[in-house]
């Protein structure tokens, strides 16, 4: 029990690292990435995780070591009467500064690709956040938004082609929302009165969650949507199906079942 407290502090780096090691087994890790650019972001994340992990272990280790070694109960050596070290200060100023600046510069390209260089194509869908739903507007057969043949869907399902550059126009009908696609590592706040874009290329077929990530009211949690990536042909079929549905002029009368 003599050096109990130092061991308590030792638990921090041990537990900290252990949690991250155990996390994938608890199925808590970065969600599946289905985008082309997502890899870059994941790699950056892992890079910083590794870097900070090392710093974390070293500093927490030092903290433990000092608490263990210099515990007054067991340390009889005289106190090192020192007001600091100029050289050390310089080292631990310059080293982190260089590292941090490097990280910053290193990230810029990924940031620019995600937010500053949209592909030169027409928007495929307009996404509108409203309290509390995501509405989707497809341009319809004329490929132009805001014309009479637009297909508007309010059922929270967004269909997009896979393996293609996709440009979404995103906006809000009322308050701030945030269009968050965890599996594509993309997020963008939407602001009423402002149009924004989001672009990506999905590389897997399937359905993935759309999350609202900006507090937008009591029903914030209800703004669940789902994006489905389909092969081009299926996507076009789906579009046609939605167009047909929107033009429905007949009504289904259920067969009378006398139960």
């Amino acid at each position: 029990m003599k050096r109990f407290w130092s061991f308590l502090f030792f638990l921090v780096p041990v537990g900290g690292v252990a949690t991250f090691v155990a996390a994938p087994y608890l199925r808590l890790w970065l969600p599946v990435d289905v985008s082309e650019h997502g890899r870059t972001i994941d790699d950056l994340f892992m890079f910083i995780l590794a870097l900070t992990g090392v710093v974390f272990v070293v500093t927490e280790g030092a903290l433990f070591y000092f608490s263990w070694k210099y515990d007054a109960n067991s340390n009889n050596a005289p106190v090192k009467y020192s007001h600091g070290s100029h050289a050390l200060e310089l080292v631990w100023t310059i080293l982190p500064a260089v590292t941090l600046l490097f990280i910053a510069v290193f990230q810029m390209e990924a940031w620019a690709r995600a937010k500053m260089k949209p592909p030169d194509i027409a928007p495929l869908v307009e996404v509108t956040g409203r309290q509390f739903n995501w509405d989707f507007r497809y341009p319809g057969p004329d490929n132009k938004l805001y014309t009479i043949d637009d297909i508007v869907r309010t059922d929270g399902r967004l269909y997009l082609p896979v393996n293609e550059d996709v440009l979404l126009k995103i906006t809000s009908a009322d308050v701030l929302h945030s269009f968050f696609l965890p599996n594509l590592r993309l997020k963008q706040d939407v602001i009423p009165g402002m149009d924004q874009s989001m672009w990506f290329k999905a590389k897997a077929v399937g359905g993935f969650d759309i999350v609202c990530a900006e507090l937008c009211g009591w029903g914030h949690y209800k703004m669940k949507g789902r994006v489905y990536f389909l092969p081009r042909s299926k996507y076009e079929e789906k579009l046609e199906e939605m167009r047909q549905e929107q033009n429905t002029m007949r009504v289904g009368v259920p067969e009378d079942d006398d139960e």
Binding site: L30, T40, T52, N73, S82, K115, G193
Partner: protein
């Protein structure tokens, strides 16, 4: 130094205090110590309320839509004790608001700033005691506004503590009271900060040069500057939001805006403007919430390592550096807000740079511990845990400073983990340490050290169980402020982890009973403390415990800095700032 004279001195002050009447002595007191204690008590009460609000959040995340015991009926009324979604949003908003504006800021600057500044610089009181009193009593209307807002039509604000328009503008009276409360807190802080700056510059005891100030005072000084320059922006912004809300202006309302089928009176504004103004204050506010804690921790660590503070001047420079850089990093809260992405790059660089002074401070604390004789008293344990936890909070900050990563982790639990590591595991732990450390000075009695250690061990273990797993939740993309995240397939598997976090949170809040009993009990029954129970160097420890009116029973003259522990010149391992140097002894 004769104790007898000291006692008479204190008695005399007590009598003068008494003559002024009970109310003016203990309620509307002009004495900085009483005002400090008033701040301390009110923030501790709000700490409790804020903690209970957090438990409401944790309940919902662990047992979504299940009736909540005890609090459920209070909060949700007719739905059988289940937390209604708008109540959840209200909890989220008010937990943050209470903790930031009624707990952390007042306890740091209000309680410890008030109590310590005159004592540590050798002044008999603040420069403008009346202003000081007002700064406390301006908190009360704010308390009434925020506390009362729970009971108005529509309940307390649900706009998030960031109150982003236009959503915040769809709120009713609750939001109005919230903004009013915020403005009042701003006015209170403003009064405090002006006072602190004046006092620190003007009222230092003879010999107390700026570079002989303890780190606590440096931190308070820089904090006061931050408050003085950042707060007016927030006050103006919240006033603008009040006029948007009530008078039909449109600073933050876009053209043609309507929500919930309400016709709006005007438009032509820009929602992002609020975010810029808000974060222009609220990012510096983050440093307001940590710098004083850093200062106090520096003092505590140096004292219990029995060793001078490592790199005093770099510490001072890094605090100033944080303050300076703190004004140009606000945009990192807005990377995905829709502002020009070019700005994002600029803010990324400045944000990365602000990590630097923090790193320097951490290394210096470690340097202070190196080669010392560390006494693990309760305050020291809290101070060391501050360093340990601040490392985690600081390092996780690098993730969100990196813009591409922030796209993913913005508004997820990664952020929640980060700022709780800084604010709870950091500041709140430092505040606990500071309470244990300065308690003898405040009340003339010691707190129970064994129970203090139990309190520390339990809190330390549980807070890590609560906040550390939030990092991996955040990695998964688990969003903040969602009343029912398990709607989403992606997050369904986070339920067990959230339940674990919630259990730990309930236990952690429950365990604070130890502290409450220790604190209240020690006020009345704790063993008497002498003037300097910790054998500390600081000037405040030369005053009586508790100090009488006018603080010092002698004229303090300062001979050196506050961190001369283990100095070779003297036999004891401490060397108080007022003790004349041995050279004077020789002449005797």
């Amino acid at each position: 130094m004769s104790t007898a004279t000291a006692d008479t001195h204190a008695d005399a002050h007590a009598h003068t205090g008494h003559a002024g009447g009970f109310l003016s002595t203990y309620v509307f007191s002009l004495d900085h110590k009483i005002i400090g204690l008033q701040f301390l008590f009110s923030s501790l009460i709000w700490f409790l309320i804020g903690g209970l609000l957090a438990l409401g959040i944790r309940w919902q995340l662990a047992y979504p839509w299940r009736p909540m015991p005890i609090l459920g009926d209070l909060l949700a009324g007719a739905e059988g004790g289940q937390i209604a979604p708008e109540v959840y949003t209200m909890l989220v908003t008010m937990h943050a608001t209470v903790m930031i504006f009624f707990v952390i800021i007042p306890v740091l600057t209000g309680a410890f700033g008030n109590f310590l500044i005159p004592l540590m610089i050798g002044a008999d009181d603040m420069a403008v005691p009346t202003l000081n009193m007002l700064s406390y009593w301006f908190m009360w209307p704010a308390f009434v506004c925020m506390g009362g807002s729970f009971f108005v039509e529509g309940g307390a604000s649900q706009g998030g503590w960031t109150a982003y328009p236009p959503f915040a503008l769809t709120q009713g009276t609750g939001q109005f009271l919230w903004l009013t409360g915020l403005t009042l807190v701003g006015i209170s802080s403003m009064m405090g900060s002006v006072n602190y700056m004046t006092t620190i510059i003007q009222m230092r005891a003879p010999g107390m040069t700026m570079f002989r100030l303890p780190m606590t005072i440096w931190a308070m000084f820089i904090t006061a500057i931050l408050q003085a320059f950042a707060l007016p922006v927030l006050t103006a912004a919240s006033f603008m939001q009040i006029t948007d809300l009530k008078l039909g202006t449109g600073f933050f309302i876009p053209e043609g805006w309507s929500t919930n089928n309400r016709p709006m009176a005007s438009g032509g504004g820009q929602p992002l403007l609020w975010q810029h103004l808000f974060w222009f204050y609220s990012h510096p506010a983050v440093y307001i919430m940590i710098l004083p804690a850093m200062g106090m921790v520096s003092d505590i660590i140096s004292c219990f390592a029995r060793k001078p503070l490592f790199g005093y001047k770099p510490m001072v420079y890094s605090i100033s550096g944080i303050a300076g850089l703190g004004f140009i990093v606000w945009g990192h809260h807005m990377f995905v807000s829709g502002m020009n992405p070019m700005l994002g790059m600029t803010f990324m660089v400045s944000t990365m740079l602000i990590a630097l002074p923090s790193a320097i401070k951490t290394f210096n604390w470690l340097g202070t511990m190196w080669g010392g004789k560390i006494q693990f008293t309760t305050p020291m344990l809290f101070a060391v845990s501050f360093v340990s936890m601040f490392i985690i909070g600081g390092l996780s900050g690098i993730f969100m400073a990196a813009t591409p990563i922030d796209i993913f982790i913005h508004d997820t639990y990664f952020i929640v983990a980060h700022f709780h590591y800084v604010l709870f595991s950091g500041t709140a732990m430092a505040v606990f340490g500071a309470i244990y450390y300065w308690f003898p000075k405040m009340f003339g009695r010691m707190m129970n050290d064994s129970w203090g250690k139990v309190h520390f061990a339990v809190t330390f273990a549980l807070l890590n169980c609560v906040f550390y797993p939030m990092h991996i939740l955040g990695m998964q993309g688990f969003p903040r402020r969602l009343a029912d995240p398990y709607h989403y397939e992606t997050f369904r598997n986070a339920l067990p982890m959230n339940q674990f976090i919630s259990y730990c949170a309930f236990a952690m809040v429950g365990m604070q009973v130890i502290f409450v009993i220790n604190f209240l009990g020690s006020i009345f029954f704790g063993p008497r403390a002498g003037r300097n129970p910790w054998h500390s160097n600081g000037l405040e420890w030369q005053a009586p415990s508790p100090p009488g009116h006018g603080n010092f029973d002698f004229q303090p003259i300062i001979h050196r800095g506050p961190y001369e522990y283990g100095a070779p010149e003297v036999e004891d391992d401490y060397y108080p700032q007022t003790m004349p140097p041995p050279a004077v002894d020789k002449t005797k």
